[in-house]
């Protein structure tokens, strides 16, 4: 491709953009809105802060990892000679009770995990909704600014016409 052809193509592209902007296909503030959208995502990353949903998700993962480990049985080893035998006897004697308690605890854990899962989904939904709301509001603000810009040009044109009219009078 010759340089002239490329320059012509780029000029055509600029014309197309101007036409599409005027037709509202590229609405006012579109690029700024997309830029702000990604900047808001990056901002969270740059500050090194985890989202609320991310923090809850981490807790959920830890809870899921630890929950099955509740067995109701404790270690029987001991540094004192022969005391491990006593521990073993005691563990056998109360195993029925501790295992029962452990089963109850596991049931509670399952309920807590289910609750955390709901909270994570809720926080994730809210964050997305907040993000969308901010983007929507920014778009409205930029739309209004574009309208003000447009009005400014109309007023300026009217003033020019008025001045010409007065000069003609």
């Amino acid at each position: 491709m010759k340089q002239v052809e490329i320059e012509q193509l780029m000029a055509d592209i600029q014309d197309t953009i101007a036409r599409r902007r005027a037709a509202g296909e590229y609405p006012a503030g579109l690029e700024q809105e997309l830029e702000a959208e990604f900047a808001s995502i990056l901002a969270l990353t740059h500050r090194g802060e985890a989202d609320r949903a991310d923090a809850l998700e981490l807790l959920l993962a830890q809870a899921k990892r630890c929950a099955p480990e509740v067995s109701g049985l404790t270690p029987t080893s001991s540094r004192v000679p022969f005391l491990n035998i006593l521990h073993k006897i005691m563990r056998r004697l109360i195993a029925r009770q501790t295992r029962g308690l452990a089963a109850q605890q596991r049931a509670v854990n399952d309920q807590l995990i289910a609750m955390l899962e709901h909270l994570v989904a809720d926080a994730r939904g809210r964050e997305d909704a907040d993000g969308r709301m901010v983007a929507k509001l920014s778009k409205h603000v930029l739309d209004r600014v574009a309208v003000v810009d447009h009005l400014y040009f109309i007023v300026a044109e009217l003033e020019t016409r008025l001045r010409k009219f007065e000069a003609g009078q």
Partner: protein
Amino acid sequence: MPAVHQIIVGASRRDAITNMALAMRDSLRTRYKSEVYSFHLPDESVIDEVIPLEKLSWGKTNDVLVYHSSFGIPRLTSMLQARSEKLAMVYHNITPSSYYLGNDPEFAAALQWGRHELSLLQPLVSAAFADSRFNAEDLAQYGYTDIVQLAAGVNPFRLKYEPTDSRLIGELHSHFPDGFILAVSQVIPHKRMELAIEAVHLLRTVHRLDIGLVIAGPQRNVRYARDLAKLRSRLPEANVLMMGETTESQLATLYRTCALYFGTSDHEGLAVPPLEAMAAGAPVVIRGVGAVPETVGDVALVASPEASLCELTEMLHAVLTNKKLRAALVMRGREHVRNFYSQDTTQVFLQRINELTS
């Protein structure tokens, strides 16, 4: 016979610097003992070709070490300072650390050290090479003189004989029946992949083109990858497939089947993927940053670095819909890479190395 060994930071068959070093090694072996050593353990793809740096023995004073600079590792700097061999440097550019200060401070520190290392090694370097004019100008700022500008070992046709992955073609067709735009790069912040996602979102929503986006390259920055995933969830229309690290055959298939190659990076020392795309017959639209304009010439649609998202979208739209423009870019692109590859840069490199060893 004197030895001319090369040192790279990391090694993988998918890494442009590794491929350049291996191609240069083959040329060096015609006259010298020559190996490629890597500071980090080499990836499995090159385990038989690249040697861990700890195995590099002490050389003689007329031997040469060719160091490929692209990053900074203090331990490697002190090791280079302590060597008795002559030192040559091939500069591939170091990304400005500002992109990483926020989300990966350790990586940013390594990049800053890389630039500091350029100053530390300058008095020790006997021959300096840069693989683009942009890189040569950058290196000159650190006091280097007589920099030889050459892209030795870059082969845009390296994937020519890779088999096409027919299974991947099937998957791509089911994802994107009407075609896809391809971006090939490590997924890291300064590559600006968000621009590609946003542009495809506009192509689909404003232009009503049923086009998808494939991003091929390893996700080296977890936070940035997560940010892109969030952006994708907020712009579901964008229709993006993140391929991650690909095999050579998959990469060749992507180049051969894409509708066009799109480069969005903010900083490029030498852009190899657009050359590979041209060699495979794909038209290229790319932001003209760093060494990009001199590398792709006038055979790609090069956007100014300040081009707006709408401009980039319109350029993509023009190439996707204007058959005459596409054909011109494809034909001229092939010719350009053929000329690029036919320049015998390795001979210039060897000649300079000969001067050092004689």
